[in-house]
């Protein structure tokens, strides 16, 4: 639905606007709520964002220097792992969840499908340490960076002191990720009065507001709460979502509601990537939900959609 704007040319822009050193590296798009991320503890600078960007794309973060963040969060596809139901890490190992698209992270109150991570700054520890993803640890990453030829001067330039620490590594990765703001899709332009819905998109929008908006709330297209959307358990994975974190029975089978932004780039869908097409997603909500004790109250009844309505809804969701 939206095009992610990766601020890849920040340095260039910074030079052009060299008269304003403290230019705004992050601003809240019109209509968006206040970000959850506290920028006071990690004030964005061009040097730190650029350093975070370099680390994001560098396989040095993995044990055998083969997998980078971008391996599963590709900038070509809204920073998701398009076409992979489950992502693969070092030594071709397959993980257990679909890599989510990275965007608008400043508005998330927790990270991961199950909310296991409570702050963006510590998010990168999870894939770095997971044996099926990067199989590394932050202490070893810091050692490798200290020994590299490239990174010590970049850290010095960004932090104005010598030394590389885990805290610095994690915070600059956050800085880059915070710039992945998605707010210029046709939907966003329409909201700003700069574009108009087609007739079909209007119909889809009305269906969306009636049936989807309570969980996939505008303008971020998620409340980022945890819900059980009625997917039957995949017994090859036995993933019970947030229950693994909270150990509370009411959290069994709940997962974080994903944003619908950039939906046409982020297939396959759901926490385990079980649906390749949006049509399958809508069929699920229309007729295939599995009853269970923790099923979201919003989904107690199926969402009635005929085939025309499904097409209209998809037209809106892939704007």
């Amino acid at each position: 639905m939206r095009k992610v704007i990766a601020l890849t040319c920040l340095l260039g822009i910074g030079l052009i606007l060299s008269c304003s050193i403290h230019r705004n590296l992050f601003s809240t798009p019109s209509g968006f709520p206040k970000p959850k991320y506290n920028f006071e503890n990690n004030a964005l600078t061009t040097e730190k964002i650029e350093l975070g960007r370099a680390l994001f794309f560098d396989p040095i973060l993995s044990a055998d220097n083969t997998i980078s963040c971008a391996s599963c969060h590709s900038p070509y596809n809204a920073f998701a792992h398009t076409d992979h139901d489950l992502s693969h890490g070092i030594k071709d190992q397959i993980g257990k969840r679909n890599a989510p698209a990275l965007m608008n992270l400043a508005w998330h109150s927790s990270m991961m499908w199950d909310g296991a991570v409570n702050h963006l700054d510590v998010q990168a520890l999870a894939p770095i340490s997971n044996v099926k993803e990067m199989g590394e640890n932050i202490s070893s990453v810091v050692d490798k960076l200290r020994k590299s030829k490239i990174y010590p001067p970049l850290f010095e330039k960004a932090f104005h002191d010598t030394g590389i620490t885990g805290e610095k590594v994690l915070k600059v990765i956050s800085q880059f990720e915070l710039t992945l703001v998605s707010a210029d899709s046709k939907y966003d332009k329409i909201k700003r009065g700069a574009a108009k819905f087609s007739e079909q998109e209007t119909k889809g929008y009305l269906l969306f507001q009636k049936n989807c908006n309570s969980c996939h709330a505008e303008p971020l297209f998620s409340t980022y709460e945890f819900k059980n959307n009625g997917l039957p358990v995949d017994t090859t994975l036995n993933d019970f979502g947030r229950y693994a974190i909270t150990k509370r029975s009411e959290d069994s089978l709940t997962f974080k509601i994903p944003s619908l932004s950039n939906l046409s780039f982020t297939y396959p869908y759901m926490h385990d990537g079980r649906f390749k097409k949006l049509g399958q997603v809508l069929n699920h909500y229309a007729s295939e939900r599995a009853e269970s004790r923790t099923l979201a109250p919003e989904l107690k009844s199926p969402i009635p959609l005929n085939s025309n309505e499904k097409a209209d809804l998809i037209a809106f969701c892939t704007l």
Partner: protein, 166 residues
């Protein structure tokens, strides 16, 4: 074995006389220099209070530096939160791989918040002892030998460790 001590305070006759400006200390038994904490000069005290572990606010504050830097292996990666106390060892009674026991005790959210309050009267040597033998004797290693996530057992073991500071 390593663990966090935070909010270290000295008291004399029941009144606070000194609060350490450094809020968190990582005591690492593989790095003995971390086991000595410099005392303020000319302060009489007969009691010490501290938290064993890291408070909940700090646990949700993102990436931190100093003794709290995740490079020290005291921060969980798969789930956010500090490990307050880590001890690993070998015992023949453990039916685990290589007879290893591992306790990574942490957790900041109720009902499994595991940070402990410790309050001790101080001896003349101004030394605090952690009686690990007494701690290990207080558990059945054949049954309990791997605790590595926030849960009931982690809280129980944390409580037992706190009672073994002397």
């Amino acid at each position: 074995m390593k663990f966090y001590v935070s909010d270290l305070t000295l008291l004399d006759k029941g009144k606070t006389v000194y609060h350490f400006p450094k809020k968190y200390f990582l005591l690492d038994f593989e790095n003995p220099s971390t086991l000595n904490i410099d005392l303020p000069k000319k302060k009489d005290f007969d009691e010490v209070q501290f938290h064993l572990g890291i408070d909940s606010t700090t646990n949700v504050s993102g990436a931190l530096g100093g003794d709290l830097d995740p490079v020290y292996g005291m921060y969980w990666s798969w789930q956010s939160g500090y490990i307050n106390f880590k001890i690993e060892g070998v015992s023949n009674v453990c039916a685990t791989r290589n007879h290893v026991f591992q306790f990574h005790l942490g957790g900041y959210l109720p009902p499994f918040a595991s940070m402990q309050d410790v309050d001790l009267m101080v001896n003349d040597k101004r030394t605090i002892v952690l009686d690990i033998l007494s701690f290990l004797n207080g558990i059945s290693l054949s049954e309990t030998n791997e605790v590595m996530s926030p849960n009931e057992k982690a809280v129980e073991l944390s409580n037992l460790i706190a009672k073994n500071f002397k």
